[in-house]
């Protein structure tokens, strides 16, 4: 596992003068073996940051380092893996679960055994390898997506709103799984969500993003108990608390 660092990363869509700056000189560090939560509203740039990290969109400025080395271009085996929001579009409907997972496994490994091991890791029976995504529920698909991401032996795992398309009764099982895996495998993870309560549950550190910038960043307990930025306070006030 290794450390992921964003150094004044800028992501800009559209022509240089006009267009929009989705991520504006963001610097953030995800230390090895820890889970950093990124919270913010839609349009705050959190997904753009994630997509830039895995190379799906080009950087307009700054750089992204893994253990001090800049990340290469997309296409080569990449030390970062990502789990997407929508479990219904993140698996190829024409490929079996096993084939989807196997695709991410590095060459020269016994694929069948590795697929079975990965499925077991995400609490799915090994015979799921032969099934198609259409036969799976949303929660099960998200587990498969997680297994595929882990199959790539990622140095860093990026989870982009992985529970927001799931029902509340299913969300809990996926969150428990993510937490258990993160702790057991000492995963370095960037966990993105608009839901402060969900981010709080999974992350050791929380970064609050707004308008393309990180407005506040700190250890989970400190940030929630003593928010400095007015926007963080606003988020905290809007998040429901259990009234007892």
């Amino acid at each position: 596992m290794s450390e992921l660092t964003f150094e004044s990363v800028t992501v800009h869509y559209g022509p240089r003068r006009r267009g929009t700056t989705a991520v504006d000189r963001v610097s953030l560090s995800v230390p090895s073996g820890t889970a950093v939560g990124l919270v913010g509203e839609s349009g705050s740039g959190k997904s753009s940051l994630a997509r830039a990290a895995v190379g799906l969109i080009p950087l307009s400025g700054g750089r992204i380092l893994l253990d001090g080395r800049p990340l290469g271009a997309l296409g080569k085996s990449r030390p970062l893996q990502m789990v997407f929001q929508d479990p219904y579009s993140s698996l190829d409907p024409r490929m079996t679960v096993g084939a989807s997972i196997a695709e991410a496994i590095p060459r020269g490994e016994p694929r069948r055994e590795e697929v079975a091991r990965l499925l077991e890791l995400v609490d799915l029976p090994a015979e799921f390898a032969g099934r198609y995504p259409a036969q799976l529920s949303g929660g099960q698909r998200q587990r498969v997506a997680l297994a595929r991401a882990l199959g790539g032996r990622p140095a860093v795992l990026i989870a982009d709103e992985i529970t927001s398309a799931l029902d509340v009764s299913i969300q809990g099982t996926v969150l428990n799984l993510v937490r258990r895996l993160q702790e057991a495998m000492r995963l370095t993870m960037l966990f993105i969500s608009h839901d402060l309560a969900v981010v709080r549950y999974v992350s050791d550190t929380i970064a609050v993003m707004r308008g393309g910038r990180i407005v506040e960043c700190g250890p989970t307990t400190d940030l929630l108990n003593d928010p400095q930025h007015p926007y963080t306070r606003q988020l905290l006030a809007a998040a429901p608390r259990r009234i007892r």
Partner: protein, 644 residues
């Protein structure tokens, strides 16, 4: 593809196509010699018993020549199609392979080429490549390519944006492999269908080129060539020209019809749903101060009933929440109350009264705008039809039909509805002010100017800054939260007694969500309207409502005051509350979870629908569905006393 054969057209086309293909394969073997047999005694004869279509200038039988010519015609057409499809695939997929910037150049070139008529291109290339079969194949292939490339480009660029393609690229899968494994298989069906149609066109084009003398040269012959030879004598012996013409038409039709039938089979996938008569039960007793009184509401789609025996009463000014997971029937309940269930859905109720009016009295179904016919799945209704729904609720749908004016007025003014997705619930081509004013013009018969003024006032009431300027803007100029406010404002144009909000804040950010919820509360206080709030999020309902109905698998499993939520009696309600993490959840412990998956309305168990996921379930639960008694439908409620 099996669906192709179910329609009569598809079956006919498939039969015709197989005949054409079989003839193309076997005719030259069977009749090749007879077609080439020269008989100088029988030159240029007309139709006879011996020669069904007469003979040509060398005394050869034209009928057999037409049959034999089928192979070359079909073969050349298919080769030309193959050339066109291959070039089209390469050009269309180029942007994926060579990157966006270079791809843009290719796409621009294709777009220019598409603008030229196909036959013109074919003639141009035929001249370039020289007269003859090979030249004609290349010419037609190249003429077909741009159109096909455009189709490939459109289809692949949609699929290329899917997350599974992104995931594969992140996993280090190369571009060519991504194209072959992920993109092409997922666009294969429409491409094959289109190629079939293209083949039909190529067949006609080839006949045309050969007819003009640019295609097949003697001694080879195809249908176009035979047609050209026969045409000189069309007034003497019409069959000599008609026979090959008929062959071209039949073969062309076979390809095109098959392609069309296949396209239709792929494009439309509506499951056939049988109709069921709704259960008719006589109403019981008047409503008292109830705004809405519903008893034993049932919504069915064929054999499946996603809403079963839901009863609820909402009093004036009361805020009632319905909570449930997706597929629990909560949104359908709201739509049924607003009379917005469309064919083939059926609504039945022992009682369905709004402000004392029986909504079942007239056919509780407005005339259906054609674009929202599909209702087989709840998600399809969320798709893009909410603007149409909103229009109906506002009563502006003016199709002629059985829905009488009184009901429209009653629902249009007395009931207001706010949908989940503020992007689709406002008509994108009408100004916000116009959309609001329409309600008052239709129902209150206000003059246009007055209605517009009222709209501005209502926008102001829902805290839209600069309402006069904003009223002149279009929905896309509003943010999500502002659109939701505008929708609430639209509801306030009448004097609603009931405001139904279906997941009004799900698509909004948390900070905006809080504002919209506060607005709903404020509107309720100011206007005295009752509120029916539907949400999957129990914490949202808790903030706003007085009373909660928890739905599972189409039934109300528990009904309780919000203050009693922490002492909920139904195991599902308790599990739902525990499953949602909040800011006080213990991070050291795993979250409480509900095992299993939500019930599927199409395959409900005999007993309690929650039993397969319930820790307390026993034999009674597996065999008997518990009735809703004393606010809870469970055999083993917390605190005892449920069911029997």
């Amino acid at each position: 593809m099996a669906r192709v054969f179910r329609s009569p057209v598809g079956m006919g086309a498939a039969a015709l196509l197989s005949i054409v293909l079989l003839l193309a394969i076997f005719a030259p073997l069977l009749w090749g010699e007879r077609a080439d047999a020269i008989d100088t005694e029988q030159i240029l004869r007309g139709v006879s018993a011996q020669h069904w279509a007469g003979t040509d200038s060398l005394g050869r039988d034209i009928f057999f020549r037409v049959l034999v010519a089928g192979r070359l015609s079909v073969l050349l057409a298919l080769t030309a199609t193959a050339v066109g499809v291959l070039i089209g695939l390469i050009l269309g997929a180029a942007p994926l392979l060579i990157g966006t910037r270079a791809g843009r150049v290719v796409t621009a070139g294709v777009n220019v080429a598409v603008a030229f008529p196909g036959l013109l291109l074919a003639l141009f290339f035929a001249v370039v490549f020289g007269v003859g079969a090979r030249g004609a194949v290349l010419a037609i292939g190249l003429a077909v390519a741009p159109g096909f490339a455009r189709l490939v480009h459109t289809l692949t660029s949609t699929v290329a944006e899917r997350d599974y393609v992104h995931a594969a690229r992140i996993a280090g899968v190369g571009r060519v492999r991504v194209l072959l494994r992920h993109v092409l298989p997922n666009v294969g069906e429409p491409l094959v269908v289109n190629a079939t149609v293209v083949a039909g066109g190529a067949l006609l084009a080839f006949a045309g080129l050969s007819f003009l003398g640019l295609g097949v040269q003697a001694p080879q012959y195809d249908w176009g060539r035979l047609l050209g030879d026969g045409l000189n004598r069309i007034y003497l012996h019409p069959m000599a020209a008609l026979a090959p013409a008929i062959a071209v038409v039949i073969a062309g039709l076979a390809f095109s019809l098959f392609g069309e039938a296949a396209a239709r089979a792929i494009g439309i996938r509506t499951p056939h749903v049988a109709h069921l008569a709704p259960e008719e039960v006589e109403p019981v007793g008047p409503g008292g101060d109830a705004v809405l009184a519903v008893e034993r509401l049932r919504v069915s789609f064929g054999e499946v009933s996603p809403v079963r025996d839901v009863s609820l009463t909402i009093r004036r000014g009361e805020a009632v929440g319905i909570v449930g997971e997706s597929g629990s029937g909560k949104s359908l309940t709201a739509l049924a109350i607003a009379c917005l269930i469309e064919e083939p859905g059926r609504v039945g109720a022992a009682r369905l009264e709004f402000l004392g009016h029986d909504l079942r009295a007239s056919d509780c179904r407005p005339p259906v705008p054609p674009k929202i016919q599909q209702f087989a799945r709840q998600s399809t209704c969320r798709g893009g039809s909410e603007a149409a729904f909103a229009g109906q609720i506002a009563g502006s749908w003016d199709g002629a039909g059985s829905w009488d004016r009184g009901h429209r007025r009653l629902l249009g003014l007395g009931m207001a509805m706010v949908f989940q997705d503020p992007m689709t619930s406002l008509n994108p081509v009408l100004r916000i002010g116009r959309q609001l004013a329409e309600v008052a013009e239709v129902h209150q018969r206000l003059r246009r100017v007055d209605a517009a003024e009222l709209a501005v006032q209502r926008l102001d009431a829902v805290h839209i800054p600069e309402p006069r300027r904003r009223a002149r803007q279009y929905p896309h100029e509003f943010s999500g939260g502002m659109r939701q406010r505008a929708m609430i404002g639209m509801g306030l144009m009448g004097s609603p007694a009931l405001l139904i909000a279906d997941e009004p804040t799900t698509a909004l950010d948390v900070t905006v969500q809080a504002q919209v919820l506060r607005l709903l509360e404020e509107v309720r206080q100011a206007s005295g309207a009752a509120l029916l709030l539907i949400s999957h999020d129990i914490t949202v309902v808790r903030q706003v409502c007085d009373r909660v109905l928890v739905m599972y698998a189409g039934r109300v499993v528990e009904e309780l005051p919000v203050t009693a939520l922490d002492n909920a009696r139904h195991p599902y309600t308790r599990a739902l509350l525990a499953a949602v993490p909040d800011l006080d959840t213990d991070r050291g412990q795993p979250l409480a979870v509900i095992p299993g998956r939500p019930a599927d309305p199409a395959h409900l168990p005999i007993g309690c629908a929650f039993a397969p996921r319930c820790p307390l379930a026993d034999e009674t639960c597996a065999t008997n569905d518990p009735p809703l008694m004393a606010g809870v439908a469970c055999w083993h409620p917390k605190g005892g006393g449920g069911g029997e």
